[in-house]
């Protein structure tokens, strides 16, 4: 059968959609359904980016063939449903890696383009879209191939374009030469906020990221672990089997006391003097992928992730945001801070040069109100919220945060005049509506 009626959600599981999904496995079957709705992938975006309530959507996960590889230039052409982790697994042993990898290897190439994702090396190599040489998509019934040189406007509207300019069917990626499939990782503890920011500012490694204990306050505020990495080669430690999260966690699992204990233990994993270890690349990039369905750990109601970026000059605003999060006391363990560079490839790309902070909150009680407050603080600091993570932003705010929205919407309208690609997020944030 072509269409399956089902209920599906984003990674945060707080938002759900019921609608019809097609999952083509060949080019011919994809052509037959391409005009019916937006494309969705592994649904690793958190909120409603990949949802279309009451409508149709095209699940691209079986369109996952490798199409071409140029061994001299490192250019790899793949279908949109290929998972980034698969590319890393197959090509790392040959000395190539996607230049940019987000926090999960389950994300698809199509999704990585549509959200212009970034990774731990953003300050050096920028976003995923900056390493895309060409995108092929079905746009308003026709197959088109665009490049950043020849179709600059359409390319910039498609990268981070939330799937609104066409069904991305394949893309040519510029892989980067990598020394091997190992990552040399140095972790050290930082004792407070200033040390955390200092360590992230002065880090020289191509990959850097900080973890913050969001339950620590007072003198310990901002403490955590700064992780730096560099690719290398050697004996690859054997990777353990992935485990599935076996059940929906009960609500006490996300209680303050448990999180506090978990964070303290997590911090102590790293000796006071720091340590350097060799890890398989996938463990470094995708640490949480080893626990399949870890999102179930937040219980049935799911969770919201708040990820913002504020300009470098707004460190005080960043600190105020973090203090507000600590005071609220409901943040979950994976709280991540990183210094972003200026790189971005799309009109609606998230990164600006500055500090980004990502925090998970269980979907209950005061979370929504708190996140709205954090959105306000972000907006006033001249920052923005990452749409791939969002489920609660207000339409008024997105217009301030993303100044190119109106220009982008115009291109999206031209590419998809019938509005067939509109998703729940586009409706919620009125992204393609003129609000002026």
């Amino acid at each position: 059968m072509t269409w399956k009626t089902t209920t599906y959600s984003g990674w945060g599981r707080a938002m759900k959609a019921t609608g019809e999904l097609a999952r083509p496995e060949t080019a011919a079957t994809l052509d037959a359904v391409a005009g019916e709705g937006p494309a969705i992938g592994m649904r690793r975006s958190y909120g409603d980016t990949a949802l279309n309530s009451g409508g149709r959507a095209i699940d691209m996960t079986r369109m996952d063939r490798f199409l071409d590889f140029n061994e001299t230039s490192g250019e790899l052409t793949v279908e949109a449903g290929v998972r980034l982790g698969d590319i890393a697994r197959v090509f790392a042993p040959k000395g190539w890696l996607p230049a940019v990898l987000p926090g999960t290897g389950f994300a698809t190439v199509g999704g990585a383009i549509a959200n212009d994702v970034h990774g731990k090396n953003h300050h050096i190599l920028g976003t995923f879209g900056q390493h895309v040489a060409a995108i092929t998509m079905i746009q308003n019934g026709k197959q088109v191939t665009i490049t950043p040189e020849k179709n600059a406007a359409m390319f910039q509207a498609t990268v981070a374009g939330l799937g609104q300019t066409g069904i991305i069917t394949s893309a040519k990626l510029k892989l980067m030469a990598a020394k091997g499939d190992l990552m040399m990782v140095t972790e050290r503890r930082v004792n407070n906020w200033d040390e955390q920011l200092d360590a992230l500012t002065t880090a020289k490694s191509p990959y850097t990221v900080g973890w913050i204990d969001a339950t620590a306050s007072g003198a310990d505020f901002g403490r955590g672990i700064v992780e730096e990495g560099e690719t290398g080669f050697g004996i690859v430690p054997k990777r353990g089997r992935s485990r599935s999260f076996p059940f929906e966690a009960p609500s006490f699992a996300t209680s303050r006391a448990i999180v506090k204990m978990f964070n303290a233990a997590y911090l102590r994993r790293v000796p006071v003097s720091g340590r350097t270890t060799a890890k398989p690349i996938s463990d470094f990039y995708f640490p949480l992928d080893r626990i399949l369905d870890w999102n179930k750990g937040y219980g049935k109601a799911g969770f919201h992730q708040f990820q913002c970026v504020v300009p470098l000059t707004e460190v005080n605003a960043l600190k105020a945001i973090m203090e507000r999060i600590v005071a609220a006391g409901i943040a979950m363990p994976p709280t991540v801070i990183k210094r972003l560079g200026a790189g971005s490839a799309g009109m609606m790309s998230f990164p600006i040069e500055g500090w980004t902070l990502a925090v998970d909150f269980p979907n209950r009680g005061q979370s929504a109100a708190l996140i709205d407050e954090l959105h306000g603080m972000t907006e006033r600091a001249g920052g923005r919220v990452y749409l791939a993570k969002d489920s609660l932003l207000k339409p008024e705010r997105v217009r301030v945060m993303y100044p190119e929205l109106a220009a982008w919407a115009k291109i999206a309208k031209k590419a998809d005049p019938k509005g067939k690609l509109i998703t729940d997020m586009v409706r919620r944030l009125k992204l393609r509506e003129d609000m002026a």
Binding site: W3, K4, R23, A27, R62, R65, F66, L67, D68, V90
Partner: protein, 245 residues
């Protein structure tokens, strides 16, 4: 020496997953099926994933003239030849009941076509004194049921054929494994109501290669279908005929 696998019905979801797994091991692949464009894409994919050599060959279970070229190609293989059969077709039972002429196609796709080419390949495998045949049947072949007895009867025939072939080939060092998958998440089952305990094609592929390595004779995938089918087979006919499953 690298291993060679002939995959019949290579564009099916399960076959694709197996081809990928084998490509990762560096195997040579002969991908056989009807859709040439699709097969070409799959051979490129397999080579990029590590297959030393992947070739697309035309195969149509309903056209016996397509068999000989595949056998000729297999004869040229230097080393062990392995075969995995994934062909079959399952139109809704009601469609076949409305148009009984459709039965012939189901039987040819799911049983007689693949059985004929296996008979043609058997001598050259016997000659090599090694290799594996993986024949994919179905739990539907274990008992005739209201919902798909035409398809089920074809698969039952194929199971019996494979059992006999196993008997013949075992004495020459060739192993024949009968596979009975339960519900698998393929293009064929997408959106079909009443599916439960659905397995991913990748899981099936992994189970097939593990089973082949252990020289399993009959393999239910996932394994718990053995229990389910044991229960279904043990229901007495006078009760079974009143059931709707």
């Amino acid at each position: 020496m690298s291993e060679t696998w002939i995959i019949l019905g290579a564009t099916s979801s399960m076959a694709r997953a197996l081809a990928r797994e084998l490509a990762g091991r560096g195997a040579d692949l002969l991908l056989c099926g009807r859709n040439q464009n699709e097969l070409k894409a799959l051979t490129t994919d397999a080579e990029l994933r590590g297959s030393r050599l992947a070739k697309a060959l035309h195969f149509d279970a309903r056209d016996a003239s397509t068999f000989a070229p595949i056998v000729a190609r297999a004869a040229k293989v230097d080393g062990v030849v392995n075969v995995a059969v994934f062909c079959g077709s399952m139109p809704p039972q009601s469609e076949v009941e409305a148009d009984p002429a459709k039965l012939q196609g189901v039987i040819t796709d799911s049983y007689t076509g693949p059985a004929e080419i296996l008979l043609m390949l058997a001598p050259l495998m016997e000659e090599r004194g090694a290799g594996t045949i993986i024949g994919v049947g179905s739990v539907a072949g274990d008992r005739g049921r209201l919902s798909n007895y035409v398809y089920g009867s074809a698969k039952a025939g194929f199971h019996t054929f494979l059992a006999g072939l196993r008997n013949r080939m075992a004495r020459k060092g060739v192993h024949v494994m009968t596979v009975k998958p339960g519900f698998v998440d393929t293009g064929m089952t997408w959106g079909v109501p009443g599916m439960f305990l659905v397995a991913q094609p990748e899981q099936v592929a992994e189970a097939l290669l593990k089973g082949a390595k252990k020289k399993r004779n009959v393999l239910y995938v996932p394994f718990f279908w053995w229990g389910i089918m044991t229960i279904i087979k043990s229901v007495p006919e006078f009760i079974f005929k009143k059931l709707k499953i």
